[in-house]
Amino acid sequence: MELSIRDISKRYNKEKYGLKDNSLTIESGILGLLGPNGAGKSTLMKIIATISLPTSGTIELDGHNILQDPNYIRKILGYLPQDFGVYANLNAYEFLEYIAAMKGVGGLNLKKRIEALLEGVNLIESAKSPIGTYSGGMKQRIGIAQALLNDPKVLIFDEPTVGLDPEERMRFRNLISDLAQNCIIILSSHIVSDIETIADEVAIMQSGMLVTKGTQAKVVSLVEGKVFEIFIENAELSDFKTKNLVVNTSRQKDNVWVRYISNNPANGSKAASASLEDAYLYLTQNKI
């Protein structure tokens, strides 16, 4: 499968762009989308999910233009939006039946499939209670279950780990890895470690534009040799921050340990191995 995005722009008014001339090709596997708030990640995902039209550009799935024929992708799409709701008066089972009808899924196996998914997301015991009584994490699980109802071939997860505890996040990552074998999965997250552990490729966006896209190794290589660590006095920290891109700090007894990115390291600095988080901050902070 191949999803080809060509020169996609979303323009709100004369000056304001949500997306600007983005092109990328996504193949089976997991693409992690990283970017600060307002970078255009959700806008891009909505356009791929066919619920928002771009101002210009084309998107093709295996050669089919999905902007002209959105139902081509909708049949095989699983979409978990960032900020979705539920019908509070329906229970989990009824809600999934409703979503199944939307996705055009039915037949004798539907009930079994819903039960299997509810078991998978561990909601089978509360499946008969109105969703209005669920906690945020439980609603998020319903969201995950609905995305998998129709045997999707394209999965779009916008901030899927919000509301999940650390162990659930790990389980979710395993689930995604399992699905990725013959699906296209696009996953956005603010948590770099979520992307770092599972994404085959990473795309970093900023101000509506794609800054870079490639394998993790390729993206990390952009900051290789620029990451350093140093111990400095507490009083020097704020001045140090103005001159360097500080990635992390840890206060010690008398001084502070600083991890930073720079083209001209300070005296006494030690080179450190780069990570995806370093690359992300390097590419989005525009500080050096």
């Binding site: 329906l90 409703y98 037949g107 539907l110 509360s126």
Partner: protein, 516 residues
């Protein structure tokens, strides 16, 4: 004090920047224009038997102020009845609850903001009445005081009380918007019926001093004391009226005090309700009151299991709309308190036993009006519940989901009207049956179209309320379900309107689906 003022203004701005407000304003201005009918019109708004006032400043000012007081008491509550709910839904309420603002100050600020919304509409109607004077006065001199005084004495105290009452209703009925709307309707009908009764105990609308003055003039000058003052849109073919000169109301201290008393009563109700205000601690109060059944206790969430997509039961394609209709009907059924279904059942039974005309003209529109909360968000609940990300990204949402929603709404309307249709069937009267079917189709499509246009349910609620009241008052133009012996041409007119609403709904939803 500054914070108090800020709350009022912010709330006011938030609410006046809505379609519902603009449409209510437009409807109000149109209504204001009709408050002073031209001499050739086939209706009157205020008259004493066979007498009408000469259209001078005093008459136009007083009549428009009286009608505004009644009209805005009818539709105003629907416009302003969700100011606290908005804070609850958006989560702003949780922030407010942590601030030092007292319950009374918060509720009073909400009441003031409600009042400002109604005042804005009243202000526009006031200007319209002055314009009307210059159109209709036929040479009588302009006197601004004759406009200001009636609005100040009649409309404004009513508006304040309605603003306060809307807040109080939200405090006590915060979980039951549908019940709140029905209570407003019943209250309004009672208050209006009291206007025609001189012995009635309460005069919320503040029209008694004016109607008494008018009645006195007619009885003293023309010695005609038989008839009371009648108010509202009264249609008749008769156009020969006698005219009398009305020079305004002499407001006595008692009149002024009675109006001030309504304002004080409004303050008192807010103070009283502030003792019971939930302060956005809604869930806890609910749990504390309700005896929780074992089956309702949500077990603590366990961690996700491993899901193997390939191991899930295989799926079959099914692109029909029946599952949608089923779920939409379930949601329509579960909306609102269950006991309202007993009232629906009572309404259906009375459709069987009441005289046919009463059943068709009175009971059916009221029975349908009771479903206002069910129909008003028929096509907007995806957005308000934030399900639209799923629905709009689903397979053919325009040709599957929207028709299912419309169908479910129509099924509900027809089930409720079924006893009446069966009665007509036994009488072999087919035109009323078609009229009822088209009425059901029309009102559901009206709800869907207005929901999609405005993005909310308020606009439909306001107009449906107005339609229902006008039907009870037997205003022919509002008769969408053929209650007043129309011919086939009228049915064709309603059908065309329904066809236009379908077209509009589908076009707008099509745009909406692709432009989130």
């Amino acid at each position: 004090m500054k914070a108090f003022y800020k709350i009022i203004i912010s709330d006011y701005k938030q609410r006046t920047r809505s379609y519902a407000f603009l449409v209510t304003l437009a409807v109000s201005l149109y209504a204001a224009y009709s408050f002073v009918p031209p001499p050739a019109a086939n209706y009157t708004t205020v008259r004493i038997g066979n007498y009408l006032g000469i259209q001078n400043a005093a008459w136009i000012g007083c009549v428009t102020a009286m009608m505004t007081s009644i009209f805005l008491s009818l539709i105003g509550p629907f416009l302003i009845n969700s100011s606290i709910k908005k804070d609850t839904d958006t989560g702003v309420g949780m922030i407010i609850a942590t601030t030092s603002i007292s319950n009374f100050s918060y509720l009073l600020a909400k009441a003031w903001s409600n009042f400002l919304v109604l005042l804005s509409i009243t202000g526009c109607v006031f200007l319209m009445s002055i314009i009307l004077f210059f159109i209709r006065s036929d040479g009588y001199s302009f006197d601004l005081i004759q406009f200001i005084l009636p609005y100040l004495m009649i409309s404004l105290p009513t508006m304040f009380f309605i603003a306060a009452l809307a807040v109080v209703a939200e405090v006590f009925l915060y979980r039951h918007t549908m019940v709140m709307n029905i209570c407003f309707f019943i209250l309004f009908c009672i208050l209006v019926s009291w206007q025609t009764n001189a012995q009635a105990p309460l005069d919320l609308f503040g029209v008694k001093p004016a109607t008494t003055t008018m009645h006195d003039i007619v009885s003293h000058r023309y010695h005609d004391t038989k008839d009371d003052v009648t108010m509202g849109f009264i249609f008749s073919r008769k156009k020969e009226f006698n005219y009398f000169l009305f020079e305004g109301v002499h407001w006595t201290l008692t009149d002024i005090l009675s109006r001030v008393l309504w304002i004080c009563f409004g303050f008192f109700l807010i103070l009283f309700s502030s003792k019971f205000f939930h302060r956005f601690d809604i869930k806890q109060k609910f749990k504390a009151k309700k005896k929780i059944k074992l089956s309702e206790i949500i077990p603590p969430a366990k961690i996700l299991q491993d899901i193997k997509l390939s191991a899930l039961p295989p799926i079959t394609s099914a692109f029909g709309i029946m599952p949608f209709i089923k779920t939409e009907l379930i949601m329509l059924y579960r909306k609102g308190p269950r006991w309202l279904w007993l009232i629906n059942l009572g309404g259906m039974i009375s459709l069987v036993f009441a005289p046919l005309t009463t059943a068709h003209q009175m009971i059916l529109p009221i029975l349908w009006f009771l479903q206002v909360g069910r129909w008003s968000d028929l096509a907007t609940k995806e957005k308000t519940n934030r399900i639209h990300y799923f629905t709009y990204a689903s397979y053919k949402p325009l040709t599957r989901l929207l028709p299912a929603q419309i169908t479910a709404g129509i099924i509900l309307a027809l089930v409720l009207a079924s006893p009446l249709m069966v009665r007509y069937l036994f009488k072999m009267s087919f035109l009323p049956i078609f009229s009822i079917i088209m009425g059901a189709v029309f009102i559901v499509l009206f709800a869907v179209a207005l929901g999609i246009i405005s993005g909310g349910k308020k606009l439909f609620e306001i107009l449906f309320f107005l339609f229902t009241y006008l039907n009870i008052e037997r205003v022919p133009i509002a008769d969408y379900f053929g209650g007043m012996n129309h011919n086939a041409n009228y049915l064709a007119f309603v059908t065309m309107l329904a066809a236009f609403l379908v077209f509009l709904s589908f076009i707008l939803r099509r745009i909406e689906i692709r432009h989130l």
